[in-house]
Symmetry: C2
Subunit: 64 residues, 2 copies
């Protein structure tokens, strides 16, 4: 499977795991809607800071 894990970028700290096994990411009002491969959904006021698909990483940054 080619899903990725979504991490929240923290200044000066290790990135924090937000959602594992993410399949879909769709912009949603002022944030993002993430859906994992099991259909579980999470919303967050954030934007995509970086994708690194070979590393299975989606890095998110909170929008203030």
């Amino acid at each position: 499977m080619c899903e990725s894990n979504a991490y929240l970028r923290k200044q000066g700290e290790q990135d924090e795991l937000f959602l594992e096994a993410v399949d879909r990411v769709v912009p949603y009002e002022d944030g993002l809607l993430l859906e994992d491969i099991f259909g579980k959904r999470k919303m967050i006021k954030a934007r995509i800071a970086e994708l690194s698909l070979v590393d299975h990483k989606i890095i998110l940054e909170r929008i203030e």
Copy 2:
């Protein structure tokens, strides 16, 4: 490998392939920098409209 293909969303038309085998996507000034698994880079004035990783798709939308 878990790279995806990046497509440019076209209103009322089929999405247009922009770059295959994308590994990394990083915001770049007013657009995005895409890098494929071979290190080839392409820039585009666009934003991520949708990710669908199980389908290996990154959908981009041009910024006017």
